[in-house]
Each structure stands twice: as C-alpha cells, then as structure tokens.
Amino acid sequence: MTAAPHIEVEDLVIRYGAVQAVGPVSFTVGAGEQMTLLGPSGCGKTTTLRAVAGLEKPYSGRIRVGGRVMFDGAANINLPAEERGLSMVFQSYAIWPHMTVFENVAYGLKVRRKSAAEIKERVREALALVKMEAFADRHASQLSGGQQQRVAVARACAFSPSVLLFDEPLSNLDAKLRGNMRIELRELQHRLGVTSLYVTHDLEEALAMSDQILVMNAGNIEQNGSPDAIYNCPRTTFVADFVGSSNLIRGKVLRDRSSADTVVIETDGGQVIHAATCGRQYGDTACLSVRTVHLDIADAASAPPQHPNRWPAKIERSVFLGDLTQIHVMWGGRELIIRRAGPQHWQEGQQIVLSADPAHCTLLEDN
C-alpha cells in the first residue's frame, strides 16, 4: 500500500544557534497514511513536527505538502503556519479556556469566513466524531483531560484539513484512557482518510497507530519502516533497544557456515547462534538482536526444537511482573533476559535448555 507522497521532507536541518537539533532528515508520507515519529525525549521528533507545522524555522532543506512548497531553505521560502492549511493536536491540548467547546471547534472555520449555518453544521459533525455533541456549551475548565483531548481532536478536524499533525496527544492521559483513545484515533484517521504525522515516545502507541514508523535518535533517523519491520527487523542497536526489549549479542562471524540469508556467529563465551540477515551485510564481527519474548526455555529433559539455536543454560532468578514474568538466565558467561506470559515455575540454579528460532534472531547493521 504505497500512496502518492503527500508530505515530503528533504534534507531538513534545524539548528538552535550552533547546536544542530535535527538532521539532515528526509522522509515522505503517502496520502491518507499515518506516519509516526518515534524516539526518546530530545531526539528532535517534536521539533521536526513543528517545522512541518511552520512553528519552527528550519535552517535548511525543503518541506512540501500536497506539492505545495512550505519551506525551502535555498529559495528562502518559509510559509507562516497560518498559511499552510495544516492542522495540529497539541500535547497540552491547548483548549482556549476563555471560549466554549463550540467556539473552540468553530475557530478554524471562523478564520476561513464560513457562514454561520455552515459553521454550526460542521462543528456539530466534528463534535459527533468524538462523541462530544452534548458538551458544546461548556467551558474548557469544566472538561476532564480526556474530554479536552477529544475537543482538541474535533477542533483539528473541523475545517477538513488535508494533513493532521499530532504532538504526543495522549501523553497526558492515564494509561487506561490512553489505550482507548489510541484505538479511537486510529479509527478516526481511517474514517477521515486524512494524512497524518504523529509524534510519540510510546512504543505501543506507535505500533498500534501507524502505517509507517520513523525511529529517531539524536536528531537523525535510525530506521523507517512498517511497524512489523521496525519490531521484527530492527536495523540498529538503538532501534532494537528502544523498540521493545532486546538482548544484544555480539560475536565473531563464522564465514564458512554463513550465507546471504543466514549469518552464524560465535560469542566470546563460545556459544554459536544462527540468525537472519534481513538482507544486510556483515563483516568479521556482528551484533544480533533477540527479543526477550523470542527466547524459549524448556526442561533439560524435554524434546529439543527443530533448529540449531539451542544451548544449555542456568536460571539466575525469576521476577514476577504481572502479565509477564521476567527470567534472567546465565548463558555462556553472560546474562540474558527472557519474558514469558503465563505461570512460570523455574527455580534459581535450575539447569534448562534455552532456544531461539533463527528467524527471530536479527542481524543488526554495525554502527
């Protein structure tokens, strides 16, 4: 599903004085797609979003939306935010406290000089979209956080912008509400078919809501791909580590046993692991990522799995976390972490067989 590019960002660089905050970064978002910028705080994701919105002046590069040039450093073009025709949901919601819910949502329509009847109709539609019709006459101070969030979304959609920008819109909600809003927002985005750029530091949110994820770190793009590719085929140690929890394993490449699809490494502890290359190149040493949920434990006595990745190991400790149990095992002189659902009955010091499907052991690009 690749749509025509709607948002195009090329070689974008953003500086604060002498400090380069972002870039250069390039990416495109297809029409009707949801792209998420994911990364730790301070990685430049919000700054990038604000540059697209026109709230931050980039240092150089180009930004085009729907073929229209919004920013071009070389041509000295920088459209002010009010002329870009985009819309945005802010982290703090930014619901104007001196206006009613209706006035908040009507703002973008009033600016566009729509008739009173049309404003009324479209505000009603937008509020219906977020199930807030009953609150039209309330003031913002009378709304809960979740309700303010909905009004912010309605306000952003009301004037039918072609692009919606989201700046960590769910980060101020409690965990439960966040889970629900995630699904609602995703459905809304599908229903409106609007192109959106979404910023978050929450992995689950990114995986649940996006067509495309852009993982950012220290102002640069670490990986750009579908949620599935980001999760299952992390490109760098940063992505492997940030996107879910991974065991990173480094070792010497055994060239004679490796191929284009499979790489075999031997760790300092003498353990041999088979892993998928994901089409990546490798040198004399390589680093692998194995997700904590992709490691299996079995009794020393049980039948071995049908792949070469199995080793004897010893249980160090087992920590009950609720939905999951985190098990630390001693493996070839180092510790590995395993997370498993369901009741676990491992004893400290118990000898077990550890295994991992080679398809779930991923070669990382060495950086």
Binding site: P80, A81, E82, S92, A94, W96, V111, R155
Partner: protein
C-alpha cells in the same frame, strides 16, 4: 493569499512599538548625558564645548554625598531589620492572626513615603510636632526627637520601604524547602545550631539581594527628603538636583552631572542585585512555594504579634490618623479645643481652582497613561516574551532602563529633551503623559510579562495552525487570555500615575498642574492642615480605584469559574 504582506504585519507592529519604546527611553537619556558633559556657554544649545568639569565640580558638594550615604545607609539598615523581623515572624512562627498580618504588611507600601513624610513632619518637627508638644506638656524642656534630621528622614523612608524588604525576604524564606532544616534536626543538630548553620546561610543571598535593591531605592528616593529635609536646607542628591534645577538661575549641567552619577551608581546596584538573585548557587528556589512548618514559640507569640502590630501602627495607622486629625483642625495642635475642629480645609481644597484642575489633570493623566500604557507595554511584553523578533533582548533592556533611574533624574533628561523638540509640548499635559508612559514602562512590562510567561505557548500556536493571522490571534486568543494581567497593569499604572511626584514636579507647567506636586507645593507655601486634607482626598481617590479594581477582578474570576 499574499503571504509576504501578512507575515510582515507582526514585524511592522513589533518594529513600531520597539521604536516608540526606544525613543521614549533613549531620547531623554541622551539629553541628560549631553547636559552633564556640557561645559560651554550655558545659554546656548546644543553645547559649544564638552568636558568633565561638571563632574569635577561635584567634589564641592561632598556634603550632599555624605548626607545621601548616611540617610540611605541608615534607612536601608532599618528597613531590612523591619523586613527581616516581620518576615521571620510571619513565615516561621505561629504568631496569632498570621494570615491577616501578612496581608496588612503590604499596606505601608500603598501609604507611600510622601504621605508618611507629611504625617511624620506633623508628628515630629522639633517645635510644633504633636509628639514633641505632648512631650513638652509632660514637663520636658527639649524636643523628644527631630524628624527633619538625617535619621528622621531615614526613619520615614525605612517605615515604607520596610514593606518592600518584607516581601522580598519572606519570598526567600517561603521558597526554602523546610526539609533542609528538618534534615539538620534529624541529624541531631539543635534548633539554634540549625538556625545558624543551615537557615541563615540559605537565606543570606536573598537577604543580601534585598539589601542591595533597597539601598538603590533609598538613593533615588525623593519625597521624604524633600518634605522633611529641604525646609531646613538638608539636601540629599535627589533634592539637590531638584534645587539646582528649580532655583534661579538654574544650574542645569551640574544637576545633570549629579543625575548621571546617581544613575551610574544605581545602575551598578541594580546590576549587582540581578547577579545576586539570578546566579544563586544555593537552589533554595525550586519553583515551588513551600509553607514551612511554623515554630511553636509559646507565649512569646503575643510579643511577636505586638512587634508586627507596632510596625503597622507606626507606618499606617499613626500617619493616616495624624493627617485626618490635622486636616480637621483650624490650626493643628496636639491637644485641640473642641472649637478648633472644622471642615474648612476640605471645602477650601475642593473650591481652589488650582486643586480642582490638578485633580482633574491627574485623573485625566491616570486614565490615559493606564489605557495607552497597557496597549504599549502589553505589545512590548508580548514581543519580548513570545516573538522571534531580532533585538527583542535589547528591547527588554531598554524598557527596563527607567527602573534604574530615579524618576526625577529621568524627568530632567525629558525636560531638556522636549524643550528643543520642534512640537511645543513643554509645559503641557502631553509632556506629562509622555513622561508617565516612559517611567511606567517597566511597571507595565513586568506585570504583563508575568502573566504572559504563565500562558501555555501552544494556546497561541494552535491559533496559528488553525489559520488565524497575527492580528486575529491577538484579538481572539492572546488579549482575552491576558485580560486579568492587563486589568491589573491598568490599575497599577493608574494608581502610580495619580501619585507620581518625581517626574511631575519638574515637568508640570503653570497650566498643567497635577495633584502630588500640588500637595507638596501646598505644604511649602500654604498650611499643613490644607496639605493634609489634599493628601487625604488623593488617598481616597486612589483607594476607591483600588477597591473598584478588587471588586471587578473578583467578579471577573467568579464569572470565569
């Protein structure tokens, strides 16, 4: 769509207010400096020769320098003692009625040194002062004290500046995390040891900052020294400048040199103050306001209550009561006969053309200064805090400039500047309006900035993304959200304008009299009873304005919630 033109609307307005502010501030400062270095023919402008002679001549006035230092130092020490003791009592002990006392501690500031000086001159002048009269009536030969000496002037200044010191020091004490003291106690240190080793070192930078600030204010203060000192030829720098300008023939260059010197010293002190308070390595300020657990002082708390009550009595109740008492007598005396009481001073005050026009002028100026002032300072504050306008930091410095200069000195520069201005506004109310707008720039900008920084930036950015241009955003989002701050600034500027003395006394002309200088004039040339009546009328007007302000803000906040 014309992106270029619309995007630059903000730039044009921003540039315009920056230019206005810079012109208001820098134009008079330039002429102040020009006059200070003018050693040519005094009757020719622009100057025919420049030099340092005026500053060298200042050496002949060493007595005034000593006077200024003595008065300012004594007043600073007293104000700090008042402020520190009151702050400690009200933030650290379980003194009775703490909340009410804390509110009342701000009142001396609103009484103003001028009223205090007028009242204390009635109380403490060596011959006719009420207290000295009573003292003699009890059989004493000599006066109990003399309010017109340096210590008397310092006493009156300290009474009113004590409230400022209190606010500053109690802010420091409140912002200190009580856990720091508790930690010391948990480690086994006693209360005294904790006080000496933890509390004092922690509040020391804040108290030092307050000391520097108060000292700078004292150097520039004018009204108490004018009312109490100048009748018996005791001058400090500010009153000497006024004397040099208003005597015949005036000695403008010398006054300017004095003003520049005072300005440089005060500027240095304000800079020092900012360094002391900004570079605080002890992070007692953590953004949160703590309510420290008050110490239980047992029955001693009634003594501490009495200490606060006495301060409020001396700085508020006694002066006001004295003015009322004096204004109702034909000839003010400490022990009047019943037949001596009269309302004639009030009828005189209201019937005198000069007073009526002065009152009208003051109100007119207050209304316009406040109204134009909030638009101007609101825009300036917004551009400083929110825009990416180049040079906005320079603008901030320029705007805060008048704060570091006594208003009298600033007015001198203005007088000199507008005398040569092609449009003849010298001696009119317009000049006073310009002067007020200039000297109250810092007040307005500070008040409104304080509200702007509390506004979530994204409230405005959201309007931007919604497609609203700058004017529309200002009108529909920024201004309505700032309304409480704008109203507060309006009343602060209004009250300050109606009570302005230092700038007005130099700049008003025969046809543009205003109230406060008229009160001072009356004190020097008519009776102190009439003066007291006039001062009280002004107080009532200002008080009514403040009451209106309180009521209107209460109502607004009730509507909003």
């Amino acid at each position: 769509m014309q992106p270029r033109e619309r995007g630059s609307a903000q730039l044009i307005v921003g540039g315009a207010v920056a230019l206005i502010a810079a012109a208001l501030v820098l134009y008079p400062v330039f002429y102040l400096f020009q006059a200070a270095f003018d050693v040519g023919d005094p009757n020719v402008r622009p100057p025919t020769a420049y030099g340092l002679d005026n500053f060298l001549t200042l050496a002949n006035y060493w007595e005034i320098m000593v006077n200024t230092l003595v008065v300012a130092s004594a007043a600073t020490v007293m104000a700090l003692v008042f402020g520190f003791v009151a702050a400690w009592i009200l933030t650290r002990t379980n003194v009775p009625m703490r909340g009410a006392l804390e509110q009342l501690m701000a009142v001396p500031y609103y009484v103003t040194p001028l009223l205090g000086a007028l009242a204390w001159s009635l109380l403490g002048s060596p011959e006719s002062g009420f207290i000295n009269q009573l003292w003699r009536a009890m059989g004493a030969k000599e006066a109990l004290f003399d309010i017109s000496g340096p210590l008397g002037i310092a006493w009156v200044m300290a009474l009113f500046e004590g409230a400022v010191a209190f606010v500053m020091i109690s802010a420091v004490m409140k912002s200190m995390d009580p856990a720091l003291e508790e930690a010391s106690q948990v480690m086994g240190a006693g209360r005294l040891r904790t006080m000496l080793r933890v509390t004092l070192p922690l509040v020391a930078p804040g108290v030092l900052g307050a000391a520097v600030y108060v000292f700078a204010e004292m150097l520039g203060s004018f009204s108490a020294a004018l009312v109490l000192g100048s009748p018996n030829r005791f001058y400090v720098l500010t009153t000497a400048i006024y004397q040099l300008v208003s005597q015949y023939p005036p000695r403008m260059p010398l006054a300017a040199a004095m003003g520049v010197s005072l300005f440089v010293i005060m500027f240095g002190l304000v800079w020092l103050y900012r360094r002391l308070t900004l570079n605080r390595t002890y992070t007692t300020i953590s953004g949160k306001a703590f309510r420290p657990r008050p110490m239980d002082v047992g029955p001693l708390r009634w003594l501490l209550f009495a200490v606060c009550a006495v301060y409020l009595f001396l700085s508020v109740f006694l002066p006001m009561a004295t003015l009322v008492f004096a204004s109702l007598q034909r000839l003010a005396t400490a022990l009047p006969a019943m037949s001596n009481f009269t309302l004639e001073h009030y009828t005189t005050a209201f019937s005198l053309n000069a007073v009526r026009s002065a009152m009208g002028n003051s109100l007119w100026l207050g209304l316009w200064t406040a109204t134009i002032g909030i638009v101007l300072t609101g825009l300036i504050a917004w551009f400083i805090q929110r825009s990416k306008l180049p040079g906005r930091h320079v603008l901030e410095y320029i705007v805060m400039f008048p704060q570091a200069v006594p208003r009298l000195v600033f007015a001198f520069g203005m007088m000199w500047a507008w005398l040569v201005f092609p449009i003849p506004i010298y001696g009119t109310l317009w000049l006073l309006l310009i002067a007020y707008l200039t000297v109250f720039l810092p007040l307005g900008v500070r008040t409104i900035s304080g509200v702007i920084v509390q506004l979530d930036r994204s409230l405005e950015e959201c309007g931007e993304v919604c497609g609203a241009n700058w004017f529309y955003r200002m009108r529909t989002i920024t201004a309505p959200l700032l309304r409480p701050g704008l109203i507060a600034a309006w009343f602060l500027i209004f009250v300050a304008s109606v009570r302005e003395l230092g700038a007005s006394i130099l700049l008003m002309g025969p046809n543009s009299k205003v109230l406060t200088p008229a009160i001072v004039e009356s004190f020097f040339s008519s009776s102190s009873e009439l003066t007291a009546a006039m001062a009280l009328i002004q107080t009532v007007v200002v008080g009514a304005a403040m009451l209106l302000f309180l009521v209107s803000t209460r109502r607004l906040s009730r509507i909003e919630s």
